[in-house]
Symmetry: C2
Subunit: 410 residues, 2 copies
């Protein structure tokens, strides 16, 4: 099960029929008509989306905070500006046929304003809010019957203590409902005393049970406005210090029924929330055989980077196809095993010189660097390896990432 | 046999040792040091080279004739100027760590001037002249014992008649020694009367026997300054009207000994001519079992486009690695069969609307469009398909290319 279609897909057989084509405003000289995809945010996700868009011949336009951002270094059409400013967004959107996102930080009211201006925003604000606000996300998942960790919005440390008492007690996980990522805005507290910090920011706080999980999984799906959706193989995501370190596709030893349940859950969430584009559903696999939703991301996601070299169609290519309402590409793997390991910044600023060793050691290695300054712990790239033997594929990816970071020196 | 190494390869194990690293001038903010690759020419080869360079984190700088050229549409750092003007080339080269090419038209003396300025030019002028001047190429291949069609520089129609008489008579192939490509600058003449046209341009003319070939092959290799070289599988190239139409990788039914001979021939030519980067050796397979060199190209080549989706490392990625003197990537195929079919311009200017049908029909299809105006017969893109069954792979690629062009409507 890798592709589902709700309702009718466009036949696509009439050439240039108005019924099949939005009135694209993007123009090439000579009358060739290709759309302009506008992406808000200049990070590595936009960089890799541009890379995936080039073969499609589409125009890619970027709204970037600075000219040095990861994507701004490689994109021809860059607007430097603040995505929190509606006028800037409106000016940027004027030349675009569709707007999509490198991150989830654009204010919901701005997205509604763009939609009111007639600009297709994909994913739309009504969907994206579930990736922006963990409280809204939990409430919606409860409403559609998707299993989540026990949770409740809490107002103060005593409220946290009460929440703990209702379950197995401390530890309890506290999250600010907005703005958290990669472990930021997340606390694991063992007592009412420790529960004070999260409330200092003055934002609503979500309390969740600390799930005793076997491992973390991710179910990545892509959905188009017409309701076509594809599901990538469910992957295992290994975190270090709250940051994704290694992704293995497919998740080793995952029970087939559980894998299908996870994919169906992700496809159902995408449909119920009206997601357009890529949806990453981060999951806990519990020791008692349940899968619980941890987080949602509505954009290409770190847990899908393996697909750049490991799948027939990458998450980035399918995200572009989805926001343009084009038929989606085959998400199935090209090799029995694909492993992605993130390259984090270490003490060694110059990673280029490490290419000599990494490339000479493994001619099949796939390096993806983001052009970002090296700062300790910062994601500055990733490597992909694939093959028939998981141990070998894991070793090659881990060695390359470690050598690039500088933690491995031979 | 897919990788050979002449002499010593850099160990690559010392990190940042001067011995292993040229003094790259490219700089990212924050002290991360990546090279700047300057490419002369804004065509689709530069566009796809940029696409391949993005994951490596390198800086890509383009010298383009116009801001609308295929590559200029997607590259951030573009200089618009005339490659025939030395001052323009010098100004462009100032910010580059190495210069390479989308085409072979840069005057040899300009390349020598850049080298005299201390700019690495890859391939260098002494190698590139063999791809610029068919007379020089034939003389060199004769000197190193590479089999070619019978040939001679001719000065007038009577001389052509004499050349014909020395062999099997007419027809004879006449080529201007410089400036011909895709069938341009090439004549097949059946009589001394027909032999007048080629001499009107006033450029030297090369006469060649018209080879009675079974099919055309291409042996693609990539060589680095250190003498590491990799060989892609020998492919079959099917021409229509002198223009490449279909490439099948590997060449179906090709005798293993002949394939090895062709690869060794290409590797030997790359070494003897001092090629750095991608070298395409276009070959005739004769009915009596010989392989003769037709043309040479020292840049990524149409006969290597299949490698973007069909090989572990694409010709573009390996060309970038070669000109930067990085260890080369594995050129071996990822599927039993990969087929590339060029998308030529037809009567229908808008190819984007055809995406709906092509993508819905074949979710595994790989489309590569160049952002070029559609003109009848012009190469505006290509499609790749791969799989286990050659007939199926051929049908899928041919259908998609025909539908995009408009010659197939269902």
């Amino acid at each position: 099960m890798w592709m589902v279609v709700e309702g009718r897909r466009p036949s696509g057989r009439s050439r240039g029929g108005a019924g099949n084509r939005p009135p694209w405003r993007g123009r090439y000289p000579g009358g060739v008509t290709f759309p302009v995809v506008g992406m808000v945010g200049g990070g590595q996700l936009a960089r890799m989306t541009h890379e995936a868009g080039i073969p499609l011949g589409i125009r890619f336009k970027l709204l970037s905070d600075t000219p040095q951002d990861s994507a701004a270094q490689v994109v021809s059409d860059v607007v430097v500006g603040d995505y929190r400013d509606l006028d800037t967004l409106r000016e940027f959107a004027r030349g675009c046929d569709v707007i999509t996102f490198d991150h989830e930080h654009v204010p919901t009211e701005h997205l509604r304003a763009l939609e009111a201006d007639g600009i297709p925003v994909r994913p739309g604000p009504d969907a994206l809010v579930h990736a922006q606000d963990k409280g809204v996300m939990r409430a919606k998942l409860d409403a559609i019957g998707v299993p989540c960790p026990r949770h409740r919005i809490v107002s103060d440390p005593q409220d946290v203590a009460a929440f703990a008492a209702e379950g197995d007690g401390f530890p309890v996980v506290l999250k600010t409902v907005r703005g958290g990522y990669d472990g930021k805005g997340v606390w694991v507290v063992d007592s009412v005393e420790e529960a004070a910090d999260p409330f200092k920011a003055g934002v609503p706080v979500l309390a969740e049970e600390k799930v005793d999980f076997l491992r973390e999984l991710a179910a990545n799906v892509v959905r188009s406005p017409h309701g076509q959706a594809v599901a990538y193989p469910v992957v295992e995501s290994r975190q270090v210090g709250g940051v994704c370190d290694t992704v293995i596709a497919p998740a080793p030893g995952l029970d087939e029924d559980l894998a299908v349940r996870a994919s169906e859950m992700a496809l159902n969430i995408a449909k119920e929330l009206g997601v357009v584009g890529h949806l990453a559903v981060e999951l806990f696999q519990t020791r008692d055989g349940r899968i619980l939703v941890n987080e949602l991301a509505m954009r290409p996601h770190n847990s899908g980077h393996w697909s750049m070299d490991g799948a027939v169609t990458s998450q980035f290519a399918n995200h572009v196809r989805a926001v343009l309402d084009l038929p989606l590409g085959d998400p199935r793997p090209r090799a029995p095993w694909t492993v992605m390991v993130n390259v984090l910044g270490g003490d060694y600023p110059d990673m280029y010189s490490a290419y000599l060793h990494c490339m000479a050691r493994d001619p099949q290695l796939k390096i993806h660097m983001y052009g970002k300054d090296v700062k300790p712990g910062r994601k500055v790239g990733h490597v992909n390896t694939y093959g028939d033997d998981l141990d070998d594929v894991l070793e090659r990816a881990s060695h390359a990432a470690g050598y690039l970071r500088g933690t491995i020196t031979e």
